[in-house]
Every structure is written in structure tokens, then in C-alpha cells.
Symmetry: C2
Subunit: 333 residues, 2 copies
Amino acid sequence: MATLADVARHAGVSTATASRIINGSSKPVADALRTRVLAAVAELKYVPNAHAQMLARSHRSAVGVIVHDVSDPYFAEITRGLQRVATADGRLVIICNSFREPDRELEYIDLLHAHQVAAIVIAGSGYLDDATAARLDDRLRAFEATGGRIAVIGRHEHTGDAVLPDNEQGGYLAGAHLFDLGHTEVAVIAGPSYLTTTFDRLKGLQRAARKYGCKLPKKRIIHADFTRDGGEDATARLLTEQPEVTAIAALNDSMAVGALAALRTAPDRRLAVIGFDDMPIARDVTPSLTSVRLPLTELGERAMTLALGAAGDAPRVEHVEAALIIRQSTWSL
Amino acid sequence: MATLADVARHAGVSTATASRIINGSSKPVADALRTRVLAAVAELKYVPNAHAQMLARSHRSAVGVIVHDVSDPYFAEITRGLQRVATADGRLVIICNSFREPDRELEYIDLLHAHQVAAIVIAGSGYLDDATAARLDDRLRAFEATGGRIAVIGRHEHTGDAVLPDNEQGGYLAGAHLFDLGHTEVAVIAGPSYLTTTFDRLKGLQRAARKYGCKLPKKRIIHADFTRDGGEDATARLLTEQPEVTAIAALNDSMAVGALAALRTAPDRRLAVIGFDDMPIARDVTPSLTSVRLPLTELGERAMTLALGAAGDAPRVEHVEAALIIRQSTWSL
DNA sequence: ACGGTCTAGGAAAGCGCTTACCTCAAGCGT
DNA sequence: ACGCTTGAGGTAAGCGCTTTCCTAGACCGT
């Protein structure tokens, strides 16, 4: 492992000069030396030790991202936005998958803190449970206390910079669309009940129900896990247990796709299905899926922009609207 | 930012003792001190500086991953496998998206090198162009020369540990299936021509054609970019320019899904379509997609296992087989 | 030719941590 | 009671780099 000292010795200069040349410091250096040092770098295949650099200039450059799971399309989309902005700013992005386990999340916060990241962006971990949320918040504050910046995507215990998708409004849009079409017996395939995302989308749905004078009783709300298979199972149960239902609102597209799959096995039943998030697949399933679009990439971009921006005096909160995308999976009764 | 020295001072011990207590060193320490130090850690919200640690114990622990794009389902799947193994081994994973730009890839190799990662895993960058491949190989060797480990997924210029999906055989399987069904006029929607993945899959297809005494002339091979929209465009062109074609082999599922979408706009044309990779969506499109399955997660797991294993005397190469999954998008003529 | 101002390059002090080595005192056997 | 082992804890030397001085020669005006 070649070190800066090796390079300097090889070129017959001091480490100070070598460092200045390699980092393109503003201090002028004779061309002869520059050439010699650069030659030494090439010959020794010198690569500076990033850890030593970080230590010496106490200058944070990397940023951390904590999401549920990058390979989940929802978070993949968000992550894409985060990356775009961070990379454009010349920063290394460290991505951590929390799998929605608070302990793992806690661990990653400390890990990123230890790695001296400039900022942490957290998406998809709005826990309704206060104790859990408080524990997380405590660690986040510790990070902030050392000058780190934090931005969250989605409602979160942590009060600070945030980008908030309007899940409640999205839920309302979904509900209103179904009720508008004349469906009165609507079932909801929800996500895990401990997530704020689930809670808010449900709230919007309930508001729409009230507005249209319809009911959305507890038994019509089935909690699944945001996965395709979860949606399929829930729909299968629904089909036999609550045959009066004519429309399904799935709280994300993966579950909606599962619902469509379950319906395909029961060709005699024709239910309307609406999804959430408007993932790319929504266009390609049959029938194509009506969905509530959230501009996920933009969500990521804005969050990272907040995180990299100057530390604010007051927490900045940005709201992002949801939009209804009507396709063929919903129709009037 | 609290440092170890602060903690030590606060607890009235030396930094050596504090360090030993915090890292749970094997050296015995009086319980009274341990308690005091731990209390100081909690009170000062001390988080060790990972960079300083890395520097002090010259012990590499993180691992790097370079893929085309994590949010592409193909790589998401591979990444999932990589992560599982690395995390189980208690390592931080740094993921880099190369977007198949050799320069970016080069940059990331050096960056990971600079960050002293223990190993680098590279997926999806088998470049056919020798000059590009050689440049990459040079940087990889520099990394290996410092004790770093490398594993590649897919055919690659770099000779070393590798996990090789049998793309040629997969191509053969796809071709044989179509020819078996009686299709003689087959078109191929290929990926970028500079990728070994494209090359190998095509080679298998050609072998099947020869075996069945069919032709697969150049004009039947359309190069797209592995995206859904690319597949849709290519199919649209095909439909008008080569109406005699009765079956399409897309070299990945995204493009196959695009092909299905294009076909949907031409209900009078009924072409068979086969995809590649067997992504989760394959089950959920209509008609469900016949595809050549590659166990992507396993690919990732095995590559990371190689990368973390003991440095071998000889390069280890593992082969992974492809399998045909027949669904409804292919039928006999 | 001389004092003074630049300027290119070097010496060395850390950045925060680990750890090999050292010290000092308590505890042991005889 | 003495020398010796043992064990708890401290001292300080780096890990590889950046950067702040500082030095010494070059160059200027007079």
C-alpha cells in the first residue's frame, strides 16, 4: 500500500508538496516538481487513504441514506432522486436498508454518524409507536448536535427538515374516485398498521367515505404488508368472506397487482381496483392499474436538496401533492 | 463533537482505558471504571469516529459494490443477495451506480479503494471493448495489489474470482423453446451490443437456430437498451418493417414487457414473446411472460461469499445455470 | 550593493483512535 | 519480610494525511 510519504520520497519532495500537487491546492508549485510527483503517483499506483483525509481535514463529504429496502421499487425510485442530487454535488452516498426494523435503523444512524457523514436522509420509517419514535429521535438529535444535517421523507417523529407526500390527500383522491364511480361497498388493503403512511392514507379514505356518506367499517380494512403476495392473499380472503365488496383500494401498487392476480383466478367476480404510488408496472398489468401518483423521484431530490442546503434557522417542511391517474382497473358500477 | 479524550477526561481515566472499555477489549478492567466510562459515553453522546478507527487499526471492514443501477430490478435482485451475505458478516456495504459508464466505474473503483474497502463486487459491466476493459482491469489490479479482494458477476475482462450466469445456455434455451413451438421467423430484441451479456445470450440463440436448421439473420436482431420503452419501440418497428415475424425473443424481461405493450396496440397481430431473467412482474403481465430464469439473488450471494472468503491461490469461478419458465406468452404456431 | 518583499517548498503539529509497552502496587510462596 | 509474578491502568508512538507556520533564496527599488 503506497502512502503519500512513499510518493514524496520517490519524487524527492516533502509530503507537503506532494499533497499540494495531488490535491490541486491553490499554492503554486514548480512544473518540474509537479511532473515528478505525478509520475511517482502513477508509478506507485498511489491512491490516497480517504480515512486519513477525512481525519486530517475535518470536512464531512459523504451523505447517508436510510430506507426500508432499495430493491423495493417504491424506495428504488426515491433513492434514484436522492442519488441524483447527491452525486451532482460530488458526494458519496451510503445507502442502508433498515427493513423497517427500528433497531437496525438505530444502528445505522450511529454508523453513519461514526462515518462523519454530512447528512442523513431517512425515508419510510414513520413509526406510530411513540417509544420507538422517541428512541430514534434521540439518536438523530445526537447526530445533529455534532453539526450533521437530517432530512426525512414522510411524516416522522423527528421534527426538522422534511418532505411530506400528501398521503392523506392521496387517500382521499382514491376514495373519492371509487365513490364517484358508484361503489359503496369498498374494501381497503392497507399496509402495516404501525406506519404513518398507512395511517394517513387510511385517514384520507375515511374522509372521502364521510364526504360521500358511505361507510368504511373496520372489517373492510385488511392489513397486509405492502408486498404483492400480501395483496393477493388479502384479496383471496376478501373474495370469499365479503362477497358484497365491489371495489378494492390497495394502499400501494404492489398489493394492487397482487389483488389483480387474485381476481384473475375468479373470472366471475369483477371488482374495481385502485393502487397507490403509480409504479411503472401499473401501465403494464391487465387491466392497467388506476393509481394515485406520488412523484417519488422528486421526493428524493427535494429531500436531498434540503439535506445538503444550508442549515436552516427553522425546520423547512415541503409538501408534495398526490395525483390521480385513471386507467382501466376502475369503472363505474 | 465529543472525542474519546473527552470521555476519558470526564470519567477520570486514560484514553487507553476508555478505548478498551468501549471496544470490549479482552483486557480486564475494574467494574467501577467500566461503569464510569459507560456513563460518560452516554452523557456526552459519544460516537467513535470511524475514520480514526480505520486509520488506527489498519483493518478493512466495509465492502463496495458497483452495479449498473440499483433501482433496475435486475440489479436490485442481485444487490439483495450481496447485501444479505455482507450484512450477515457484519459489514457495511457501499453501493455505487455506474450507469454503465466506464469512466464512472473507474472513478468508483478508486473511490472504494481510497475508502479501504475489503472487497469490491462488480456486476453487469462486461465490456466487449478491449481498451475499456483493460483500463478497468488496470485499476482493479492496483486495488488487488494492496490486498483488496475482487469478485465479478458475469463475464468480465478481469480474471479473478467470478460468478458466471450461463447466458449462452440461457439464450439456447430461449431459442430452442421458440423453434420447438414451430416458430421459424424469430426476431431478437437485444441489449446494447457492447455488453458481454448481450453477446452471450445472442450466441446461445444462434446456436439454437443452427441446431434447428433455422436462420437468425442480422436484420432480425434489433439492439435496444434493456429498458421497457426500448423494447416497446423496437417491437413497434418490427411490426411494420418485418411483418413475417411470429415470435420475439427479448434479452431481458423489461424489454419483453415493452414488447407486450406494443403488441397490445396491434390486436390483429399475435406474436409469441419470451423474456429473460424471470423478474417478479413476469407473472403479472398479460399474457404472463415465458422467461429464462437466472437466480439473481443467489448470484449476488455467491459473489459476496467469494469476495469475503479467503484469498484464493487460483481464481475461483462458479457457474450458475439458467432455467426455462414457461408461461402463456409463448405458444406453438 | 543593501534592506525589504515575495514566493516556492519544507518541517512539524495535529485529526481521533488503537495498542505495544511500561509502571506500579498488590499478592504470592517460602 | 523479601523478591517475584501478576494484573490493572497509563504513556506515547504511530495510522496517513492536511495545513499552518517558517525558512531561505529570488527579485525589486534605490
